[in-house]
Amino acid sequence: MNKRFTKLSRRTFLAGATLLAAPTVLGARRAAAKSDSVTISNFGGSYQDASIKAVYDPFTQETGIKVNITPWPGLDKVKAMQLTGNIQMDVFIGSSNDSASGSKKGFWESLDPSLFDAPDMVIKPDSDYVTFETYAQGVAWDPAKYSQGKHPATFVEFFDMQRFPGRRSCPKKPGMLELALLADGVAAQDIYPLDLNRAFRKLDSIKSNIVWADNTPQTISLLQTGEVDFGISFNNRVKPTTEPGGGVPLAFSFEQCVIASDCLSILKGAPNKENAIKLISYYLRPEVQARFFNMVPLAPVSKMAATMLSPETRKWQPDSSKPNNLVVDAVYWVDKYDAVMRRFLEWTMT
């Protein structure tokens, strides 16, 4: 920026924007000079309670660093923070799609690979974000209504309207395309790059019976209220329904899953970068992972942590080594998301 411009902008700033400028100083929260805290986003609900118990509180005890939690901001909020230069958080928890997309846009600080024990990890860390948990997308149903053999268990069966008539709920996300290709007989290792025309053709075959779930809780509530007969949902959403206070208990099939993951990253310009690095490496310690994933029905990225889990917990974990399971390729989606999502939305609207 040249000198003249700064002078000009400063004058305009003083003349015109005093109205805005004065309170700005009051409105913006300044990071503490001596950093003894770290701010991380979280999804809320029971997941957040478990995060506090299993990860944040012990972390504070060990390091003396206080962990502040903020509700999950979308990538749009991250973008606004980067533009504003008013970075209000340090660590971002997000889906692999969001993390990869943010990585491409340059939202994250790069991470030192020596922080992680890569051989122990099911999904290897990237240069500026690291996977810490996985979860499975698969077929869910109400076992009180559909006993063994009366419900689809794989994606091929889910798309079979002859054998299993009824209404189906699907998340309104382009991730349905991978499912459709698996249902159409494509082997898991050949899914990427997606054959879009083939996937949409397959989806067309059940389109009239689909109820779209606009958000994640709907994948459960549509089944619980009997709005649909079978649905595509997530293992970590189905398990709580089987526990006290979960409403109508549902069942989930692990015979075939699409495995997706969540990642951690540090915002570029984070006010407490050092603490953020400490928190992320703490998150990935096997014993911390084991403690956390005994509380929430997701799967750890650490292979060692997986062996430390209780047998009850393991019943609800997808097996990522199973050949007909698919691990989502976040990097494929980074470039394709906009165009594919647009086509997918157009397809749902017609």
Partner: protein, 274 residues
């Protein structure tokens, strides 16, 4: 009052609101306009990309369909309520007004979730119907056109009631008395006196309803089906999912243009009527 002191007074009275208008109201709209044409260096490329995509065209036609239908429905229901209110004694009208105003001021989020419970497949409506017909009834009433229309109408009816009621109350009772002395029947009085005299209120109500339903965002997101994406949802999609501000802005400009196309004639008629 001499002119200098009046000018000073005017500065004191008007400057806070004027500053807000200049510093807060105008810039966002200019930003939207500039981003939509600056997105690709001062050109209309963004508009070209938006206007030619079938996603946008579908969304636009849906928006117009939903706006038309929900405006008609809410106008019809709102007129019936306003007519009923206008014929009540003042004290009872005050009480009944609460029934109209309370929903009007209730958070739209609350309404949407209540309707999910009411209209669900095993929701209240279907449970009542099942009990009435002694068979299991599971009509699809939500996440489709029905649910969307129920939500939109519920949201818009009070907005029609208020101006129409004001117009109806402004009709002199003497007009009706004169007409009935001349031997006019109720139905005829309704069509020759009530309806024409209520038109200013109808146009005012219609104007608000059209503007609100063209820009509806939360109700379609929560109660509509996937084929009910509205322009607002598309703006949200381009901002939140794709982080594409120029396209979000281009769609915003189209949305504003649509509002102007619909609102201008209504405002013009209203100006002539009032």
């Amino acid at each position: 009052m001499n002119s200098t002191s009046s000018l000073r007074a005017q500065a004191i009275f008007m400057s806070p609101a004027t500053m807000i208008a200049v510093a807060i109201v105008v810039p966002p709209l200019l930003y939207v306009l500039f981003t939509s044409i600056h997105g690709s260096a001062l050109s209309l490329a963004e508009f070209d990309a938006v206007l030619t995509s079938s996603l946008f065209r579908n969304t636009l036609s849906n928006t117009l369909f939903v706006t038309g239908l929900s405006s008609l429905l809410s106008l019809l229901l709102g007129f019936i309520v306003a007519l009923h209110l206008s014929r009540q004694p003042a004290r009872r009208r005050r009480f009944l007004m609460i029934l109209v105003l309370l929903p009007f001021w209730t958070s739209v989020l609350v309404k949407c979730f209540a309707f999910m419970v009411i209209l669900g497949r095993d929701g209240i409506v279907n449970t009542v119907l099942s009990w009435a017909f002694q068979t299991k009834v599971q009509l699809p009433l939500v996440f489709n056109t029905v649910g969307l229309m129920v939500g939109m109408t519920n949201y818009l009816v009070p907005i029609v009631v208020l101006p129409v009621l004001a117009s109806l109350l402004a009709i002199e009772p003497a007009v009706y008395r004169a007409a009935s002395i001349m031997g006019a029947k109720q139905a005829r009085m309704f069509w020759t006196i009530t309806v024409p005299m209520s038109l200013p209120g109808v146009f005012a109500g219609l104007l608000s309803v059209v503007v609100l339903s063209l820009g509806a965002f939360i109700v379609p997101a929560l109660l509509g089906g996937p084929q009910h994406m509205m322009l607002s949802n598309l703006v949200n999609f381009y901002n939140r999912e794709v982080l594409d501000w120029p396209k979000a802005c281009a769609i915003s400009i189209v949305l504003c243009g649509t509002v102007i196309i619909f609102a201008a004639p209504l405002a013009f008629w209203r100006g002539r009527k009032v």
